[in-house]
């Protein structure tokens, strides 16, 4: 079990006039090789939870986070080991780039791990190829000359270069244009196919519905739902109470249903929508 969270609580600025509690007892299990989505409206606590999953925050209040068998709240926990096994990709990860060239930046983590130059190069090569950027073509490129989507993939490579097997991504497509967004989603899907455990955080159910099998909905610092993505995104009452917008296909089916057409609403692709509407319309006509 790569990640297990029990009764997690978090308060920002404790003991100040600005104290703000954002997590109120979160439970979550992520299995080996799974791809799990975490959705929630803004300020639902999902970015805070992500930092616990990446071993960057450690529980001090009651609550427990165990990553690859290491209890991160324990004072003697080997936190460096945790951070090697779990990679965390922050929102706008291109903000972390600081070296001159792509090769130097991606090689930062392996160099910190005191690998020898040949191994560093092998790691960098592997990480860059994984994110779809040929090593020979990009190694010498200055970071500032890359496009937005490329910078973001370099940043992901910089995290993968640690050799982690679990990846936590916080809003990986935020601010990208449709092209960059497609490339990023394709990258996440291919990482999952290569056997990495993936936790993808997003406020766009549209994207998550395409990417994940299991969806966790966080609302006001609590887990409001955890189940198969198809069921969760078509649960109108749940989404209404959390302020999340259903994927467009589900919203379309809800409109057909509201107009009196006897259809199911849990359609995730345009083809499913059309088949279902055509079936129902035909059925009504025959009847």
């Amino acid at each position: 079990m790569p990640i297990s969270v029990r009764g997690l609580i978090h308060t920002y600025d404790p003991d100040t006039p600005f104290a703000r509690q954002v997590l109120f007892g979160v439970d979550l299990e992520v299995g080996d090789g799974e791809i799990v989505g975490i959705a929630g409206p803004s300020r639902s606590g999902k970015s805070t939870l992500a930092q616990y999953l990446g071993g960057l925050l450690r529980p001090r209040q009651p609550g427990m986070v165990v990553i690859d068998g290491i209890d991160t709240g324990a004072p003697d926990a080997d936190i460096a080991a945790v951070r090697t096994r779990v990679g965390m990709v922050f929102q706008f990860p291109e903000d972390q780039l600081f070296e001159r060239t792509v090769e130097l930046d991606v090689g930062y983590a392996p160099r910190l791990m005191k690998m020898n130059p040949a191994d560093v190069e092998a790691r960098v090569r592997e990480a860059l190829e994984t994110v779809g950027m040929p090593f020979e073509e990009f190694r010498g490129r200055p970071v500032h000359a890359l496009s937005g989507g490329q910078k973001r993939r370099v940043a992901v490579a910089g995290v993968l270069a640690k050799g982690c097997r679990t990846l936590v991504l916080d809003e990986p497509t935020a601010g990208l244009d449709p092209l960059g967004r497609e490339e990023m989603l394709e990258l996440v899907a291919s990482l999952h196919r290569q056997g990495l455990t993936i936790v993808m955080i997003s406020n766009q159910l549209e994207e998550l519905a395409r990417m994940v099998e299991r969806l966790v909905v966080l609302a006001e610092g609590r887990v409001a739902a955890d189940g198969p993505v198809r069921r969760v995104v078509s649960d109108a009452a749940l989404l209404a109470s959390t302020g999340l917008r259903p994927p467009g296909t589900v919203a379309a089916m809800q409109a057909f249903a509201a107009a009196g057409l006897p259809v199911r609403t849990d359609c995730l692709t345009v083809d499913e929508v059309c088949d279902e509407v055509a079936r129902a319309a035909g059925g009504v006509r025959r009847a």
Binding site: G180, R245, T249
Partner: protein, 297 residues
Amino acid sequence: MTAAVPEPRPLSRQVPAEGIRLRGVFHTYGRGTPHEVTALRGVDLDIAPGQFVAVVGHNGSGKSTVAKHLNVLLQPTEGDVWVDGLNTRDPAARMAIRRRVGMVFQNPDNQIVGITVEHDVAFGLENLGLPVEVIEQRIDEALRLLGIEHLRHEPPHRLSAGQKQRLAIAGVVAMRPRYMVLDEATALLDPAGRAEVLDCIVRLNREEGLGVVWITHFMEEAVHADQVVVMEGGQVVMAGTPRQVFQQAEEIRRLRLDVPLVTRIAAGLRERGLPVPADAVFLEEVVQSVCRSASGD
């Protein structure tokens, strides 16, 4: 589709509302340096007063460069831009143009100057040198229009992204511009925040007659527009009403933009033999036509 615009009178002042007009606009960044990039290659565009124009395109298509020409943050390298008959090359007209054309940018954090919501709205009004009583009244009005009165005394860092962007819009609306340019104003927001901001803008356009230039990556967001302009490689490659533009699915795919969901559903249903109009852009139209056929009319 576009209003008739009289012949431009270069460098004239004080002219009544006539819309925004771009003619043969080229723009080259870093001219004469090794980093020279030509972002616009002959753009013609007309925006009538009170019109809602959506400009859609990828990063690097030139859409943000167009936006910056509309309130003199950039000057054309070649060609002309007129705002209500004022030429943006005329230094004396610069402030008059900026009063007429408000700008809202992508990142709300980088356009909020004030330490609280009300002080931020006041910033632009103070720059205009308005009397204090007028400033107070305009602040009240703008906060009400954007639905953020209750946040009046909050510091910006305690607002959600959607609220911050509504504040940025309030700061511009309070200055009572005739046109508002929103440069990917929803790109950093979640879907709820995105809808929140788009709804506000559509309302301001319909009810207050504000001219809107809505710049976006997302074809879907163009559905409310009177005119859709698609840009690629520094040129306008498609233009028309949403119904005209959305129908050209092949061309949209070729430009690697998203075909709007409703258009895709309408096409899929037609393939399955349902009588859905080919130019449907709103979900309600599709639902109604399907239900009508199903009940056997």
